[in-house]
């Protein structure tokens, strides 16, 4: 996106200011699912809201899509006040929630046709568009059979087809690939990238760093109901500090030795991987630090599988910003407090 950064504020298409949403839990102080969220997304771009389970991602999407009224703050889409003029927002947005919102007893075609009729397409137009989407999303298998019994990937594709039925200006995707197998995930990414290339503004949430990195122009990192960092993937990586040295040793017993050496040459606290064999540390002058580290470790006889420099990943960013690793489990349930209040 080549929009000069100085004009970004004026071009904001999706905008939120100071969103707060509290959930009241019995016998406990209220939980703030959103604790003052500011967001600003330009038209025609893809924004990822990246965060772990319970960070407030779904709550934020629900506010933008008129499903939930926040306790404080404002939200606009295309200059329309989402909270006061929801009726005018709904025709220009498409939403695909965390669970595929399809009727299991209806066929793929019937599901899409119903959505089309509810967007007030005339009967023939609705059918034509439904067929068009079935072709484009390779859903012909589910065209004339009830959705019940189809895979999660298929359901999500039908759901996404429903979300873009009316060619919305903004598409909201809440964890579009959570729970999908790797192949379905790749397929979903391709579809989303196709939509983006046609100019749809996309706002997606994800707990997968890879997904945010791959799909989004800009990433907002959310944790504990607050946006704690924002920027392109590169900008975020730069925040962690330039380069890193990464070493993998043969014998995990050498850990103490390696950590001591890395601490001396690195610019940050060295980190140990879960299996205890890979060690990373941020450095200021990469090649030289790597060379001297290797020389020292060779001298004391530490044998290595692999040694090299790498740029920080979004995982590093996440760890740096939140103090904990991103959860990447596939069970995407939001925590109890989000479940508690959303219904009333």
């Amino acid at each position: 996106m080549s929009v000069a950064s100085s004009t970004v504020e004026h071009m904001a298409f999706i905008e939120a200011r100071g969103l707060v949403k509290r959930y009241h839990v019995r016998n406990a102080p209220p939980v703030e699912a959103l604790a003052g969220v500011d967001l600003s997304v330009e038209q025609g771009t893809v924004r990822a809201l990246l965060g772990p389970n319970g960070a407030g991602k779904t709550t934020a999407v629900k506010v933008f899509t008129t499903l939930l009224v926040p306790d404080e703050g404002t939200a606009t889409i295309g200059g329309i006040d989402v909270l006061k003029r929801g009726d005018e927002v709904r025709p220009i947005i498409g939403v695909s929630g965390q669970y595929a919102a399809v009727d299991e007893d209806l066929t793929g075609l019937e599901n899409l046709d119903m959505v089309g009729r509810l967007y007030h397409y005339p009967a023939r137009e609705s059918r034509r568009r439904a067929h068009e989407l079935i072709d484009a999303f390779e859903l012909s298998e589910a065209q004339n059979r009830p959705v019940k019994g189809f895979s999660g990937g298929m359901r999500r594709r039908i759901d996404l087809a429903g979300a873009i039925f009316s060619k919305p200006q903004v598409l909201f995707l809440d964890e579009p690939t959570t729970g999908l197998d790797p192949r379905s995930r790749m397929g979903m990414w391709e579809i989303i990238q196709g939509l983006v290339s046609e100019g749809t503004t996309v706002f997606l949430t994800t707990q997968y760093l890879e997904e945010a990195d791959r799909l989004a122009d800009a990433i907002s990192v959310i944790d504990g109901g607050r946006v704690i960092a924002e920027g392109t993937a590169d900008e975020l990586k730069a925040q962690v500090g330039g380069q890193q040295i990464e070493l993998t040793v043969v014998d995990p017993g050498d850990a103490e030795l390696v950590l001591a050496v890395l601490a001396r040459h690195g610019a940050s606290e060295p980190r140990t991987s879960d299996d205890g064999r890979t060690f990373t540390v941020g450095v200021t002058e990469g090649p030289r630090a790597l060379e001297s580290t290797l020389t020292e470790l060779n001298a004391v006889g530490v044998r290595m599988h692999d040694a090299g420099m790498r740029r920080p990943t979004l995982d590093d960013v996440f760890l740096k910003l939140t103090g904990h690793m991103a959860e990447t489990d596939t069970a995407a349930d939001e925590p109890a407090h989000e479940r508690a209040g959303a219904g009333s």
């Binding site: 939930l68 939403v95 929630g97 399809v102 007893d105 060619k167 939509l195 100019g199 959303a342």
Partner: protein
């Protein structure tokens, strides 16, 4: 991929209020009609259960329960009609709870439709289910010897009153369906609340036979008024049946209509308001 979502080329129409209301209502009704056709549970409950009730009650109790001046079969049919209709209306409750659980309610709520559209489609679905049940029950009743002894018009009025009561009750159940935490709650609650409601009435025995407090409950139970109204319209009131001592049962048709009006006046707006606020608990 050819362009499939290019914004701005949208064909969304925003017709005037009344035609939107009609097309939205039809689109959601169609959804429920397809489900009736495709979900075996619904068809079984709709057709087999009423037949079972007709046969069970008439053959099992006919010999033990003696209603002077009329066969038990003729006495019981209005009761079976009312019970089946009341239970038939719980589909709206479990369906709304199910929609809420699996997320499709979020899809509906982000579409440019009125808050009433989905509810209208759902309650229409119950009306169709109950109409099917009525046809089956009437056929089964005629086979075992039940007759409408008044005119065709009064008979039709009786059927209409039962269906209208069921339709109004569907709105009550739809509201409850959106208020509970899971579809199972609705199904269990239906048994815990609706069985006493239909049995503690004059549906299966004359309410005078019930002990003190239960008799009072039965006299003011709206199901009693509905059953008695149907009995009057079908001409199934036993000769010499004692004149009820409460207004509600002295004027059962008026009482039923008042009950229907009250349910609609209270629960249509409540349900529509509720629909505008619920969202899937994810």
């Amino acid at each position: 991929m050819t362009t499939i979502a290019k914004p701005g080329a949208s064909a969304v129409r925003r017709p005037s209020g009344l035609s939107t209301w009609y097309t939205d209502g039809w689109a959601t009704t169609k959804r429920n009609l397809i489900k009736i056709k495709r979900v075996p549970d619904v068809l079984v409950f709709t057709t087999l259960q009423p037949i079972m009730f007709v046969l069970l009650f008439t053959y099992v109790y006919e010999g033990v329960i003696d209603i002077p001046g009329i066969s038990y079969t003729e006495f019981i049919m209005a009761g079976i009609f009312a019970q089946t209709i009341v239970f038939g209306s719980t589909w709206s409750g479990s369906a709304m709870a199910q929609d809420l659980k699996n997320g499709i309610i979020d899809r509906f709520r982000t579409l440019p439709i009125s808050h009433s559209a989905v509810l209208i489609g759902r309650t229409n679905g119950d009306l169709v289910i109950n109409s099917l049940s009525m046809v089956v029950m009437i056929a089964a009743g005629l086979i075992v010897g039940w007759r409408i002894t008044t005119s065709v018009w009064e008979g039709l009025a009786g059927v209409a009153l039962l269906l209208l009561f069921g339709y109004a009750f569907s709105w009550v159940m739809a509201f409850l369906g959106m208020s509970v935490r899971s579809p199972e709650v609705i199904n269990n609650a239906a048994f815990i609340i609706l069985f006493p409601l239909t049995f503690l009435s004059n549906a299966f025995v004359p309410s005078e036979t019930l002990p003190g407090p239960l008799q009072t409950f039965a006299e003011y139970n709206p199901v009693s008024a509905l059953v008695l109204a149907a009995r009057e319209l079908f001409g199934n009131v036993p000769p010499g049946y004692p004149e009820p001592d409460v207004w509600t049962l002295q004027n059962p048709i008026a009482t039923s209509l008042i009950g229907i009006a009250l349910m609609l006046l209270v629960f249509v707006p409540l349900s529509i308001r509720k629909f505008g606020r619920v969202s899937t608990r994810s």
